[in-house]
Amino acid sequence: MRIVTARRISQGFFLALFLWFCLVATVGERLWQLRGWPVNWFLELDPLTGLTSLLASGTLYAGLLWGAAVLALTLVVGRFFCGWVCPFGAMHQFVGWLGSRGKPLKERVRRNAPHPAQQIKYLVLAFFLGAAMSDLAARLALGQVAASLAGAIVLGLVLWATRRGQGGRAYALAVGLVLAAWVAWSLAAPHGGAWLLAGLLDPIPLVSRSVNLVLLPLADAPARVAWPEPRFYQGAGLIATVFGAALLLNLWRPRFFCRYVCPTGALLGLVGRHALWRVGKKQARCGACLGCDGACSGAARPAGRLRPAECVLCLNCLDACPEDDITYATRPSAGGEAAPDLGRRRVLAGLGLGLVAPPVLSLSGVLGPGWNPALIRPPGSLPECEFLRRCLRCGQCMRVCPTGVLQPAGPSFGLEALWTPVLNMTIGTSGCQLRCTACASVCPSAAIRPISLAEKLGQGEFAAQGPIRLGCAFVDRGRCLPWAMDRPCIVCQENCPVSPKAIFTRVAWETVLTGLVAGSATGGELTVSGKALKPAALASGDYYLQMGAARARIVANGAHSLILTGGSDWRTPAPGEALSVAVRLQRPYVDPARCIGCGICQHECPVSGKRAIRVSAENATRERAHSLLLKGAGPV
């Protein structure tokens, strides 16, 4: 079998496996549903995901250790992940092949010529690493040895990878300056933080998000295998635009994203350029037919001085060489090798930009005084700063959420929160379901902690700390039917899932009709004059005839007659007595000590536009600073 065929089979297999994991991330117990499938495996394999998580949070959570295995294997065999495993890479490879099909060799060689823009991906990598390690200094000061060690290793690696020629002293000075600025910024900025921005362009989170939130909802709309009802994701257009652009650019240059943008490819390239096994020419002199250059999907120029960091191990060159001069072996290419043209200053600039991005952006105050109460995070979410250190924006929580209430945050929540999960009570089929912890169990980076049902509900050993609150519901008395419009309703109270209910009601009587005058009373029927009544309109059981302080329920009515059932204090009105009609209203109140902010009331509120009861992130368990209640005060 040709080696290229083996590579294609591998790519096809891993792409199919990836798509299968996307499909089976559905709550349920059938074969094609979530029943122990390792749906996060690809996210965990991605070494940039692991590295940036490690830098930002100081730990390598659970399955993210897989990234270390990929990195280690890359040291031995090169960028096998890009060429053989990455599902996004497989898509690029395929579209790139479509775009180059039938093109003459000269044109293909032109498309695959190395281009200075290939260094952009290293700058992107540096930027994301910088953003992720932005407050390592602070944690270093707090004595987190592992974190500081990791930071030192990464910095060392970057400097080593970018070493070239002399002038070490000037660079050391530049590095020192950047470091000093970074320490100053992170310690001085009120909410400096470190953010996992890498997920915006990190290929596996990007492709997971795009497939799960765009392609799958589209494909499933008529099929309804993944969800019983059509799925909606806010701002899907923006996610699709990034995904579509990345795919279509392959028509112009094969593997465009991998060559110019992919920060994971950059990381693997830096690690893999020193791999034990590598692609290379056996002999420097060959027929110079350029067949290998025409086939090279990484623009690594196998015919000339090979760029090992750019080689995605597609092995097209082996297949294309008519003289069998190219091999995969443990020695450098006989044609010579070139290090990636990084430009140390540029890389440092990227790193520096990344380092200062979180502190600078956080000056907008969204993590502090300007926090957005519409940013309601899933149950078990860490405090916002910690959350942003870990959230990959991979969309797994939104994919698995059985109600679809979890939505990707749009640009209005800020760059730091773009595509992170936020609850939108009006979009899902229900609010956050009381007895569901699906998002927490599936989160690959523990931005949403793995919580048990007992912890979510505050039962058993968690009874003392109470249930996890996502926020608190507030009644908008200007829109609520019983408050603003004298109409009975209390759908919110009915649907409140906690026991005892967090929504309680108080009965209020409002006079809605005056100026009635009693007529004769015959056989249980009372005639009235003054105003003509709409027949049967008062017979819903909520309207009462008032005479002074006494009331009788209206059972039926005509234009000038009423049938009543009165209590013990009711007496038949004498002709000529003044009467009025009152409505009995149950007005809803929220008890913030009980409300968990699940949003089911908001979802069910019959005021179907802007709901009359809405959840806001105040009082969420995860942010103590946003709590609403004074401890130990109040009657309950």
Partner: protein, 328 residues
């Protein structure tokens, strides 16, 4: 005339013919699609569907009350008292069981129809010869989760029923003849189309707004859209639901009654053992009996009176001479 001009003329005629066809095609298409009126106000409105009566001839006014703390034997005994399942379901029938699966809550909390009861009812229908048994509801919480977490979905499938979740294609507009509230409202008609029998199975529950939720309130789950607006007139809507549906049989499960914190419950402390299963063909009578388990008198529950006055049944259940069975 030269041969060339002859050919030229022929080519011209051919081109003229093609052009003529094109002109004719454009003209025809334009004529065909031409609209001088513009869209009407009720654009996109499908025709209303009709809901037939599912009552079984000769079974009206049957009512049974079984005292038992075990649901399955109670159901069997109750059906026996009504004349056996064979009196309601026959060979080849398509039976729809409208359960209450409103909330994604476990069966022990009593907010939804009991899965064992659902399964037994399905088995009895199958035993009586039903060709197809459909278990359905349009729940309030996420539908798939509701059916799974309440245990109704797995139990029904196990017993040989088909579980139908709500989906856009299942709804069709419906107007209750003479109705005030249910006008051009989406009704979950899909599972009901072609059905021979309709059985309602609901738990007895406290309800803050309507005081009680039993079998008539259970028909709420046949409505779609933002049906919550009807809560402005809760008694009126339950009464109209009672008029909308003429069931083959309804069963009120008061073996345990959700006495507080209804209709969602949420704690075992909200339940009270009342050891009663009520079966009947008149849902007003069944519900009138059932509200007694919540300590209510039928006369104090407006929707019962409204439904009775509208002719949906009687609140005077004793007039139906209910069969009373004690299983201990």
């Amino acid at each position: 005339m030269s041969r060339e001009t002859d050919q030229e003329r022929r080519r011209f005629l051919l081109r003229a013919g093609k052009a003529g066809l094109g002109v004719a095609a454009i003209g025809a298409l334009g004529w065909w699609a031409h609209d001088t009126q513009g869209p009407s106000a009720n654009i996109g409105q499908a025709a209303n569907v009709k809901l037939p009566s599912f009552a079984v001839k000769g079974t009206d006014k049957r009512l049974a009350v079984v005292k038992s703390s075990h649901r399955v034997p109670a159901l069997r005994a109750g059906l026996e008292a009504l004349g056996g399942m064979g009196a309601f379901v026959g060979a080849g029938h398509k039976v729809v069981i409208k359960v209450n699966a409103a909330f994604a809550s476990p069966p022990a909390l009593g907010a939804t129809s009991n899965p064992e009861l659902v399964a037994e009812l399905v088995r009895l229908c199958r035993g009586a010869g039903a060709k197809q048994v459909i278990v359905t509801d349009n729940p309030i919480n996420d539908p798939a989760s509701c059916f799974e977490l309440s245990g109704i979905g797995p139990a029904a499938r196990e017993a040989g029923a088909q579980v139908v979740l709500p989906h856009p294609g299942a709804f069709a507009p419906y107007s209750l003849p003479g109705g005030r509230l249910i006008r051009d409202w989406p009704l979950m008609y899909g599972p009901l189309a072609g059905a021979d029998r309709l059985i309602g199975l609901a738990p007895v529950k406290d309800h803050h707004r309507s005081q009680a939720s039993v079998t008539m309130k259970n028909w709420y789950g046949l409505l779609g859209g933002r049906r919550n607006v009807f809560h402005q007139d809760i008694n009126g809507i339950i009464s109209e639901l009672g008029q909308m549906v003429t069931p083959s049989l309804v069963i009120a499960d008061g073996v345990a009654t959700l006495a507080h914190n209804g209709p969602t419950g949420g704690s075992l402390e909200d339940l009270r053992p009342t050891d009663t299963l009520i079966l009947g063909t008149d849902h007003v009578a069944v519900d009138s009996l059932a509200v007694g388990l919540l300590g209510l008198k039928p006369a104090k529950v407006p929707w019962l009176g409204l439904a009775a006055r509208a002719g949906a049944g009687t609140t005077d259940y004793e007039s139906l001479n209910p069969t009373r069975v004690e299983l201990g």
